[in-house]
């Protein structure tokens, strides 16, 4: 359960100009909810996620996770980074165990837990490989395993499947859904793809840019579990309806903001 109240955040650029990345954002993410976030480039999605993770300070407002105000990174939340953020010199095993190590978990225990998670994301046998030897999709699975290894209550995912080809992406989506269905936790998932947002989320948050605000929250009335037949889901008319609606909304926002892209 995450409560965000009146969150505002601005950046002062190197040239002294101030960018209002988030303005007055109110958002409540329910216990064990899978929330997806969509929005044009530069609308503040990453900023929002990092604030919840406790990685950046903000100007105004409050963030509560499980009722406790966020003051910094904590063991209750973990993050999957858009660009993987794997340590290139460490093996898969060490990368997955990294979060546990930072928390002072002993070697034997952290390796055992890491091995479990490596098996869960289907990478058994790759424990001693380094990230450079893995394909993009496999790298991202390492990032997910690392985030899950610390058994967080809240999982924050920043465009985790952005850099992955379509076939691999589909496999990863199915895997994420089945992990979530089995282990249940609160998930905030940022994406650029409407299809993905609808396929995965209980609700889709649409954000608008400059300043970053929540434009609309769209509930997704597709039944769970969804992991068994993603293909059928995609051919359902409900799915097509929501996707079309999101497409229109986003196109509007995109048109509005086209000139502003020069600045980014």
């Amino acid at each position: 359960m995450i409560e965000i109240r009146g969150l505002s955040k601005s950046f002062t650029g190197q040239d002294g100009t101030v960018v209002q990345a988030l303005q007055d954002v109110d958002l409540t993410v329910g216990e064990n909810e899978f929330l997806t976030v969509l929005g044009p480039s530069g609308c503040g999605k990453t900023t929002l996620l990092k604030a919840v993770a406790g990685l950046i300070p903000w100007n105004d407002g409050d963030i509560l996770v499980e009722g406790t105000p966020v003051r910094g990174p904590g063991p209750d939340r973990s993050m999957v980074f858009q660009n993987f953020a794997l340590l290139p010199w460490a093996t898969v095993l060490d990368n997955v165990a990294f979060g546990l190590r930072m928390r002072g978990v002993g070697r034997a225990e952290r390796e055992e837990r890491a091995r479990d998670l490596i098996a869960m994301v289907g990478l058994s046998g790759f424990e001693t490989k380094r990230p450079g030897e893995l394909s993009g999709g496999m790298q991202q699975r390492v990032g997910i395993a690392r985030a899950l290894a610390v058994r967080p209550r809240v999982l924050l995912m920043d465009e985790p499947f952005g850099a992955v080809d379509e076939q691999t992406r589909r496999l990863l989506q199915e895997e994420l859904l089945s992990i979530w269905e089995e282990h249940r936790m609160t998930v905030v998932f940022i994406t650029h793809s409407m299809e993905e947002a609808v396929l995965l989320g209980d609700r889709v948050v649409l954000m608008s840019a400059r300043p970053g605000r929540i434009a609309e929250i769209v509930p997704v009335p597709l039944e769970r579990p969804r992991s068994n037949d993603v293909g059928a889901l995609e051919r359902s008319s409900r799915y097509a309806e929501i996707t079309a609606y999101l497409w229109d909304r986003l196109r509007d926002m995109h048109e509005e903001h086209r000139p502003a892209k020069v600045a980014g």
């Binding site: 601005s10 406790g54 990685l55 950046i56 300070p57 903000w58 100007n59 409050d62 966020v70 910094g72």
Partner: protein, 271 residues
């Protein structure tokens, strides 16, 4: 970096002062000067002047024609020698970066040039080329060219190979690829090499004068040392260092002007 609410207004005057770098530079300078002064007063010998004496001597030197004459003579070697290092070193670095086979052959010699104690070969050089400007120029060149070559080579390696391929797809000749792709693409690294090279060139300029052709600035250093005029000795050194730093800042400024594009694409790289 802790999370949590922070005031939205601009940082106060005090904050901005603490963030600027000048106060820290001044602070270290003060500590350094005080340490020097104390040490020289307590334990200083014939060749260790105090800080204040050195400052006085520096000011005094700057008013003498002798110094400016020496600067003029020394810098002839610097300008010519470093000019040659750039004119020869940049293309050489580009060639080595572009053609691996050549590079594999030349690599040993670059390494040798990098590690050879030049002081030991100065006599040889002077004997073969004479005591005139030529040997000073050559030495400055040898001192500085390695930095220029090595960095230019690295710069060419950093140029995105797809840009070369793109140029070739438009039928670019090798010459055009050099002028329009390799040189501009390698420019940031080349400028770094030039900056480091300037430092080495100044060293070379002084060393050759110190060890062999005792004219100009090196001659002044030897003279002041021989006569135990410690303040003037270190005053000269201060002036040489100041010149080096000045040249490096000029190079930095030129670098920023020439390679402004690099900042937008490598926002997070060093400084």
């Amino acid at each position: 970096m802790t999370a949590g609410p922070r005031p939205a207004h601009r940082p106060g005057v005090l904050r901005r002062m603490l963030d600027a770098s000048l106060p820290y530079q001044l602070l270290t300078f003060a500590v350094f000067a005080a340490g020097w002064e104390l040490y020289a007063r307590e334990w200083g010998g014939l060749l260790i002047p105090t800080f204040t004496e050195t400052v006085q001597a520096t000011a005094e030197l700057l008013g003498t024609a002798e110094l400016w004459q020496a600067m003029y003579v020394s810098n002839q070697a610097l300008v010519l020698g470093f000019g040659i290092a750039v004119v020869v070193g940049v293309p050489a670095g580009i060639v080595l970066g572009r053609f691996r086979a050549l590079e594999r052959l030349a690599d040993v010699y670059l390494n040798i040039l990098l590690v050879t104690p030049m002081a030991a070969i100065i006599p040889l050089l002077v004997m073969s080329v004479g005591f005139g400007l030529a040997s000073r120029v050559i030495l400055v060149t040898i001192f500085s060219i390695v930095m220029v070559v090595v960095n230019s080579r690295a710069g060419v390696r950093q140029v995105d190979p797809s840009l070369i391929e793109m140029a070739r797809s438009f039928g670019a000749t090798e010459r055009r690829i050099w002028a329009r792709v390799l040189l501009p693409g390698a420019l940031p690294a080349i400028m770094t090499g030039i900056r480091l090279g300037i430092g080495r060139a100044v060293t070379g300029m002084v060393i050759v004068e110190l060890l062999m052709v005792s004219t100009a600035l090196g001659g002044l250093i030897l003279e002041y040392r021989g006569l135990f005029k410690a303040p003037l000795l270190y005053g000269t050194i201060v002036i040489i260092l100041a010149e080096a730093l000045l040249l490096i800042s000029v190079a930095r400024w030129g670098e920023r002007r020439l390679t402004g594009w690099a900042r937008t694409t490598m926002a997070r790289s060093a400084r």
